[in-house]
Amino acid sequence: MSSYLQPITKPEATYTIHVKRFNPESNAQAHWETYRIPFVRTMTVIQALEYLWDQNTYLAFRANCREMTCGSCAMLINGAPGLACMTLLQDGSRIEPLANYSVLKDLIVDTSGIERKYKELEFWPKLEGATKISGVPRSVLHDYSHIYSRCIECYVCLEACPQSDAETTQFDGPMFMLQIARLSKHPLDAKNRPRQAIERGALSCVNCYECASVCPVGLSPASEIGKLRRRAFTQDFRNFWRKLVGKEPAQTP
C-alpha cells in the first residue's frame, strides 16, 4: 500500500473521520469507527483509507486507478455518492458503503446484480438484420464517442437515483439507460433500443436530474433517458400512423 502513498512528513492538521465497518465473519451489525488522519492539503478520501492500511487497520475498500477512470471507488461520503479518489478529505467526514446494495465487507458492496443486468440487456450491437437499414447509418452523422463512452461505470448515478435500487427492479437505472443510448448510436446495431429502454423502465424516471448532478465525469443520464423516451413515442406514433394509412411499420427504429 505505502508504495502508492507519499509518506506524510509534515501534516498540517489531524482530521477525524468516521467509517462504517462491517465484518461478515465477526460482527452481526455494521458499526461506525472513528479514526484520526494526519492531513495535508489536497488529500483525498482514498489517501485517508490507504493511510489506515499503513497503520495496519485493514479496512476493505475497492480502488484501482485513483484518477477517476476506473470507477471502482464509489461510496457514500457525507451521505453523498461519489468517487473516493476525487473527493477531498474533510474533517469529520462520514464514509460508508453505497446504500442501495448489500454490503460484503466494510466499504465493499455486492454489485453482482448490476453485472447480471449487463447480460440481460445485451450490451453489444445486435448484428442480424443490420444490413437492411436504409439510408445513412446513424452514427456517421453523430460522433458520439466523446459523450457516451466517458461513462466509467462507477454506479454513483445508480445510487443517487431515487427510482432505482437493487431490490425493486422496475427501473434498471440511469447508467444502464446511458449504455442503451450509447448502443443506439452504433451503426451496426439493429435492436430497437428506445423500446428496450421503455421495457427496462425508462418511464419510471421522474426527471429529478440527481444522476446528472452526481456524475463524476459530467454526463447527464436523465437527458439520455428523455431522448430515448421521445424516440420511443415517436416510433409508436409513426407506426400507428403508418398502420392507419395502410403502410408497413418502419424498419429503422
Binding site: G79, A80, A99, N207, C208, S213, E224, G226, R230
Partner: protein, 111 residues
Amino acid sequence: MTNRNRNLGYYMWLAHRITGILLAVYLFAHILTLSAALRGAEAFNQTLRAFDNPVVRAFELGLVAIVVFHMLNGLRLIALDLFPSWSQEYLAFAVLLISLGVIVISVPFFF
C-alpha cells in the same frame, strides 16, 4: 434518507409530489364542502359566509400557491420530456419565479 445537498431538480420533484398529494386531499375537502348545496341554497350560502374570514382567505391563497407550483412544474416536466436537451435548472428557476409572481399578484384578489 440521508441529509446531503441535492440539486434543485430533486427538490422540485419532491415538492411536486407533496403538492400533488395535498391537492388530492383538497379535492375531496372541496367536494365535501360544496355538498352543502345538496341541502339547499340557504345552507350553501351559510357555508360560504362561514368561510368568509381572513384565515380561510389565507388558506385559499396558500392553495393558489400550491396549485400554481404544481401546474407550472408539471408543464416543466412535459417540456423536459419533449425537449430533453433543455436546461432543467433554468426551467426550475422560471417555474419558481413565475409562481412567486402569480402569488404576489393574487394577494389583492383575496384580501
